[in-house]
């Protein structure tokens, strides 16, 4: 039998056993250690496309570069040229003979056949139109004591050979209040013949037949009772129009259009060696035009300054543009138009176009005045226009990359979210290192600042000076060999904390070309290679 002493000894031994069993449970804290890690994070190249977005960079035979870009200055569409106002016609079908007319169910009462000539503005004389969109609104008032049936037809409007036709049932009048009905007929796709009964213009024919409903009671129609209907052409947009578009004057502007090529450049001076701009005017309408393009200015919106285009010997003020050629014609009115084109070249010899572009415009201003059919109706009502065609002016620019740049600054604010990158908290110290291998003939001074959600500064990111150095040039202004620079982003605990709190990074990149004020040429073999690496002391096991 066990004694108390035996039990006590056994208990002690069991406790000791459990102590050993739980030896591995003695871990009070995590095991950690520090690693020195280096690794590439990102590689990339700074291309001239980053400086000049939305451009095409072309290479000359001597490997020098040219940036080319297009922008639309003016685009005057058919629906501006040919505005068809909403126009209504009232038809009255009432008892005017002074005696009661018996109303028997199904009896035909009246028929109408009328042509209506519209008075269109600016002397426009339409012969034919195809409706892209628009409708006819028909409003009917029945003052008889029986329900009437009204067959409305517009013989001038056909679609696939069928006349626009619709039958309406108009309720009878009650207690002297006429019965009313309003309906809309879709005109989309209808061809409207505006020649009326023959050689007319702006004229359409409509017919109507009024009958007593077959379910009506016998009654009679008193004096002045009957049907009054009003139909209205509403919101007509032509797909195609044929006729004479009038001897009208149009004015567009003064106005401005956006110019995106230098959007990313916030300030600085770009001194271009030369530039060439080809102004191309296209007339896709079947009308002659005499145009005057004026008020051409480049507007730097970031650092307000305006450079007005000046020129000599260039006929911008008296542009005679003939009508376009419709290869299909009115019997097959599908767009197949060759525009009439005028081109005008502006260069260093006849204008200040280099300064105009070097102003780094964000917008271009312009004004267009034009006389339509300056010589009258010489087409004999055969002017034409298609929806989607226009009278337009485009600028095609070619700028040799031969310039000097002084403090040319790119800047932007981009959003970041590193709050979920937990590994950052394990970094004790170190750097992110941006290694730049630059063969462009410019230096870049980089700055970056972390911002919180309210865009308040959380401190700089890059150790000052963040300078990507310019390589040495030879006597011909060519880069001899690439220049390597290292920029450091120190990862202190404060910086890491700021990085994780940051919502935005705002950065600037300031470019300065070498050998200023001399201009330097850019060649196709120039590159700027960028390598971002990490060199950090990192705690493992945290």
């Amino acid at each position: 039998m066990y004694t108390l002493k035996n039990i006590s000894i056994t208990s002690c031994l069991l406790v000791l056993t459990f102590c050993i069993l739980s030896l591995t449970s003695c871990k009070h804290e995590k095991t950690t250690w520090q690693d020195d890690l280096v690794a590439p994070l990102a590689t990339g190249n700074l291309t001239l496309g980053s400086l000049f977005p939305d451009t095409v960079i072309k290479t000359n035979s001597d490997s020098s570069l040219v940036i080319a870009f297009n922008t639309n200055l003016i685009n005057y569409q058919l629906d501006s040229l040919l505005k068809i106002p909403d126009t209504s016609v009232v038809t009255v079908s009432t008892n005017t003979i002074g005696i009661e007319i018996p109303l028997a169910p199904g009896r035909q009462l009246l028929t109408t056949n009328a042509s209506t000539t519209y008075n269109l503005p600016n002397g426009i004389q339409l012969r034919k139109a195809i409706v892209k969109q628009g409708k006819v609104r028909v409003s009917m008032y029945n003052s008889t004591r029986d329900t009437l049936v009204y067959l409305f037809q517009l013989p001038s409007a056909t679609k696939s050979g069928a006349v626009l036709s619709q039958t309406f049932t108009i309720p009878k009048s009650v207690s002297g209040m006429p019965g009313k009905l309003t309906a809309f007929l879709d005109l989309s796709g209808y061809t409207i013949d505006f020649t009326g009964s023959g050689n007319q213009v702006n004229t359409v024919i409509q017919t109507g037949t009024v009958s007593v409903s077959t379910i009506a009671h016998k009654d009679s129609m008193d004096l002045n009772q009957g049907l009054i209907d009003t139909f209205l052409f509403q919101s007509i947009v032509p797909q195609y129009a044929l006729g004479y578009f009038g001897n009208q004057s149009i004015t567009v502007g003064p106005d401005t259009t956006s110019f995106n090529v230098f959007n990313s450049i916030k300030k600085g001076i770009l001194n271009l060696n030369s530039a060439s701009v080809v102004l191309t005017v296209n007339n896709q309408f079947g009308v002659d035009m005499k145009a005057d393009i004026s008020n051409l200015s480049s507007i730097n919106t970031n650092n307000p300054s305006v450079v007005t285009l000046t020129y000599t010997g260039v006929p911008l003020g008296n542009l005679q543009v003939n009508q376009g050629i419709d290869h299909n014609g009115p019997n097959n009115p599908v767009v197949n138009v060759s525009p009439s084109t005028k081109t005008i070249t502006l260069n260093n010899n006849n204008s200040n176009v280099a300064a105009f572009i070097g102003n780094l415009p964000g917008r271009l201003s312009y004004k267009l005045t034009a006389q339509i059919n300056p010589f009258g109706n010489i087409s004999f009502n055969n002017d034409f226009g298609y929806y989607g065609t226009s009278f337009s002016a485009n600028l095609n620019m070619n700028v040799p990359l031969y310039f000097s740049a002084s403090n040319l600054m790119l800047a932007d604010t981009v959003s970041i979210n590193l709050s979920g990158v937990n590994q950052l908290q394990n970094i004790n110290k170190g750097n992110l290192i941006l290694t730049a291998t630059n063969s462009y003939p410019f230096s870049i001074n980089l700055t970056a600042t972390l911002l919180d959600a309210n865009k308040q500064s959380l401190g700089g990111l890059i150790t000052s000076p963040g300078l990507i150095q310019v390589p040495a040039l030879d006597a011909n202004g060519k880069v001899i060999s690439p220049q390597q620079s290292k920029l450091y982003i120190p990862l202190t605990s404060q910086k890491i904390s700021a990085l994780q709190r940051a919502t935005y990074v705002t950065y600037t990149a300031t470019f300065n070309t070498a050998n200023q004020p001399n201009q330097v040429k850019f060649y196709s073999n120039y590159t700027l290679g960028l390598l971002l690496t990490a060199d950090v002391n990192y705690t493992v096991g945290k």
Binding site: N6, I9, T10, L13, L14, L16, T17, I20, L21, L23, T24, C26, K27, H28, E29, K30, T31, T32, W33, Q34, D35, D36, L37, V38, A39, P40, L41, A42, T43, G44, L46, T47, G49, S50, S264, L410, D412, V414, S415, I416, N417, L418, V421, Q423, I433, T435, Y507, A509, L530, L531, L532, T533, A534, D535, Y538, V540, G541
Partner: protein, 417 residues
């Protein structure tokens, strides 16, 4: 999970679970010593050819491993290094009539074994990072890490008095698999460019991990089934030097079939990593930053799949020769080898001193295994029918942890019945 994390997990498991000899995970030794008895036992052993005790202790007890601690281990690194150990706890009972030739054994045991062979570069990469390899190639070829954790239920039969005095025993065990991790690399290296502009991975290797959804240290995780057998033979004889005996055993002869949720990763590729490509540095956005994560790199390098996997257990061969010179002194010499476990033969000698009729002390010296030279000491005290045994075969780990390799403890409480 990244390679580094797996490596880390395995090494953490390896170190925090401890290993080694003690009673050499050999239950039949209790029978030979005490006969019919109930035994509670626990043992751990951990040793290495390079990793010092102060660094191991950080993995056992936690804390930050400073550069001085790392340097002490780094000074011991060779081209090929080993680390390994085991941690076993359990209860065994031996029953049978004194008049019978047959006795029976039954036992329950919790087993964890972990071992690794690794290059010096692999250790440096893991513990110090790759900055020291700028412009160099770190060779991590032939890295092998194994980690097993399972529970064992044993039934055995002992045949006494074969040929009058010899004994023979056999047992069969059912194994419930809890955790299995295995990393093996063939030719593998990582080159770090001088300016860190690129990392060249040359990877040929595999990683197997049992289901971790229930946690690696969850005793209830049922991730595999297995069987194991154990044999022993004991032959006493009389020599000129005194009563002698020879004991030989084979244990852990078996396998575990890990279930279909076991994950396997394989890679056999060369890959140059230069970071993510940013086409426009002025449009660096969040997606670019996300691409910088190390997981995206791992996905590029490694293919993975799920399915059942079988693993052999590290079989143990153990031999012990004892000469009892006098009633007061006996000499044990032994040999142990673990197959497929990054182990080299362990040879040892022990002097056993019967200091008192109830108290025995044993001094131990050995070489090999997962480490190098080890010294130990254990004592046994008898209280009526209880025997308490406590000792270590690597006492240096507790005397000079900053300057020694290896540590271990074993403890048993036996009730003779």
């Amino acid at each position: 999970m990244s390679c580094k994390r797996v490596l880390l997990t395995c090494l953490l498991s390896l170190v925090s679970c401890l290993v080694l000899k003690a009673q050499y995970n050999n239950d039949f030794l209790y029978y030979l010593k005490y006969g019919n008895s109930v035994n509670l036992h626990a043992e751990y052993e951990l040793n290495s050819t390079a990793v010092q005790n102060d660094l191991m202790n950080k993995f056992i007890y936690g804390g930050n491993i400073d550069s001085i601690t790392k340097t002490r281990t780094q000074n011991r690194l060779h081209e090929h290094n080993r680390i390994g150990g085991s941690y076993n706890t359990g209860a065994t009972v031996f029953l049978g009539s004194d008049k019978s030739k047959y006795h029976f054994a039954a036992g329950l045991k919790q087993v964890q074994m972990a071992n690794a062979s690794f290059s010096g570069d692999a250790f440096n990469l893991l513990m110090s990072g790759n900055k020291m390899y700028e412009g160099k190639t770190a060779d991590i070829s032939h890295t092998n890490i194994n980690n097993y954790q399972y529970q064992e239920m044993k039934l055995g039969l002992i045949w006494d008095n074969i040929d009058s005095t010899a004994k023979f025993g056999v047992s069969l065990s059912y194994l419930k698999g809890q955790t299995f991790d295995q990393i093996r690399t063939g030719a593998a290296s990582i080159y770090t460019a001088p300016d860190a502009s690129q990392l060249n991975f040359n990877m040929n290797g595999s990683l197997v991990m049992s289901d971790t959804s229930k946690g690696k240290n969850n005793l209830g995780a049922f991730n595999g089934n297995g069987m194991a057998a154990e044999f022993f033979a004991y032959i006493p004889y009389i020599s000129k030097l005194g009563n002698s005996s020879f004991f030989a055993s084979v244990n852990n002869l078996g396998f575990i079939r890990w279930n279909r949720n076991t994950v396997s990763y394989n890679t056999d590729t060369s890959y140059v990593y230069k970071g993510v490509t940013v086409n426009n540095i002025f449009q660096l956005n969040n997606s670019s930053v996300q691409n910088l994560s190390k997981d995206s790199l791992v996905k590029k390098l490694i293919k993975h799949g799920k399915g059942p996997v079988s693993s052999n257990l590290p079989m143990s061969l153990f031999m012990l020769h004892t000469i009892k010179f006098t009633q007061l002194f006996a000499l044990n010499t032994g040999f142990r080898y673990l197959f497929d476990a990054n182990y080299i033969p362990y040879l040892y000698a022990e002097g056993q001193f019967a200091v008192h009729k109830n108290f025995t002390a044993t001094a131990h010296v050995g070489y090999g295994g997962y480490g190098k030279l080890s010294e130990g000491l254990n004592v046994e005290y008898k209280i009526k029918t209880f025997y308490v045994r406590l000792g270590t075969n690597a006492i240096q780990g507790y005397i000079a942890p900053k300057h020694s390799l290896g540590q271990g403890l074993f403890f048993s409480l036996t009730k003779k019945i």
